[in-house]
């Protein structure tokens, strides 16, 4: 059964991930959060308001967030896109153009708003939940589920994977964060 993940755990994991990505560099901010506000991950976004080590750039659309991520990566800066499944659907052309054809490594944390605790994604009553994994599969985007605190190792793992394969990689946040 999936469990909610506490915001501090996600933030600490992102910090560790960015520290590893930076190696010896002590540059600040430690990393960038490109966010199109997401109900599902709102506790993380709220907690990030108090964070000094991570800088949040709120984007008006997911298309923008993908292109901003490209500029940051070209400039050597680590980042994560925190979006919702609906935003993934809205921005597939930019994901294709930037992360796939452009071979820009982009790591996504995608909130599965309305995901039911007692159903697998493929059996969800909500099309926006059901189609997330098939869409990522269609585009060949590697992905994993964050179904609870025990899955936090997926964040650094899929961040590194995006860098190694020079393309997109995603984790799907199963339940609303706390």
């Amino acid at each position: 059964m999936p469990e909610s993940i506490p915001a501090p755990l996600i933030i600490d994991t992102l910090k560790d991930t960015f520290r590893e990505a930076r190696g010896r560099s002590t540059r600040e901010p430690l990393g960038w959060i490109l966010s199109v506000p997401d109900t599902h991950q709102k506790t993380v976004l709220a907690a990030l308001d108090k964070e000094r080590a991570l800088r949040v750039v709120t984007c008006a659309t997911e298309d923008e967030a993908n292109a901003v991520a490209a500029g940051l990566w070209i400039g050597g800066e680590p980042c994560v896109l925190m979006i919702q499944h609906a935003g993934l659907y809205a921005s597939v052309n930019t994901l294709r153009g930037v992360a796939m054809d452009g071979r820009v490594p982009i790591f996504y944390m995608i909130g599965l708003l309305s995901r039911e605790k007692d159903r697998d994604l493929k059996d969800s009553r909500h099309s926006m939940v059901r189609y997330a994994e098939p869409l990522l599969d269609t585009f060949g985007v590697p992905h994993a589920r964050l179904e609870g605190p025990d899955d936090m190792h997926r964040i650094p793992e899929y961040y590194r994977l995006s860098r190694e394969r020079r393309g997109p990689a995603a984790v799907l946040v199963g339940l609303e964060t706390t």
């Binding site: 750039v57 008006a60 923008e64 500029g71 940051l72 400039g75």
Partner: protein
């Protein structure tokens, strides 16, 4: 009389120093000729993304000026980026709009609103530090140095005619992924 985009780009090429430039659509063919092997990256394959790509570069490299050569039709595709840029407030970003009122590359169909769309007011409303229009080439040359030194984000709406070439009439240039690699090497961020 509207400015020739090639004249504008030639003046920029002479004045830009080590600024990173982000051309898109009809500025791309001429810029390839004027600045063939420099700190530039074209927005290719995701129309409308030049301003956001420029924002990411500006945030990553705060000591270097980043200049976006946007189109009016292109910016309309991601108009929210004006607010995103203003919110992030990069002091080193200059956002030039080559305004011609049409989607030149796809056959010169009029953009929504045509030439009446006022990007200066939009940028001011979004929260850019400075925004103004330039209609004459002499004025452009006079104000060009400040476009590279004013605290950003700065938007300048340039009233231009149609470029001689478009990405459809003058195909070529490197695909985006190769431009990414080249710019990372030049910026020494590829390690």
């Amino acid at each position: 009389m509207a400015m020739k985009p090639e004249d504008v780009l030639r003046a920029i090429a002479a004045a830009r120093g080590d600024a990173i430039c982000v051309p898109t659509m009809t500025t791309s063919p001429a810029w390839r000729t004027l600045a063939p092997d420099d700190l530039s990256i074209g927005c290719v394959g995701f129309m409308g993304g030049a301003s956001s790509l420029g924002l990411g570069l500006a945030l990553a490299m705060p000591r270097r000026r980043v200049v976006v050569f946007d189109g009016d039709g292109s910016l309309l595709m991601q108009l929210g980026s004006l607010a995103t840029i203003a919110g992030a407030a990069p002091r080193n970003l200059t956002h030039l709009i080559f305004k011609n009122g049409v989607y030149h590359t796809s056959g010169a169909q009029e953009i929504p609103g045509g030439l009446t769309v006022d990007f200066v007011q939009m940028a001011k409303g979004a929260g850019y530090r400075k925004a103004y229009a330039v209609t004459e080439f002499d004025e452009f040359k006079r104000r060009l140095p400040s476009m590279f030194s004013d605290e950003g984000p700065v938007l300048v709406e340039l009233h231009t005619g149609l470029a001689d070439k478009t990405p459809m009439t003058d195909r070529g240039g490197l695909p985006f992924n190769q431009q990414v690699d080249n710019l990372r090497k030049k910026l020494d961020t590829a390690s």
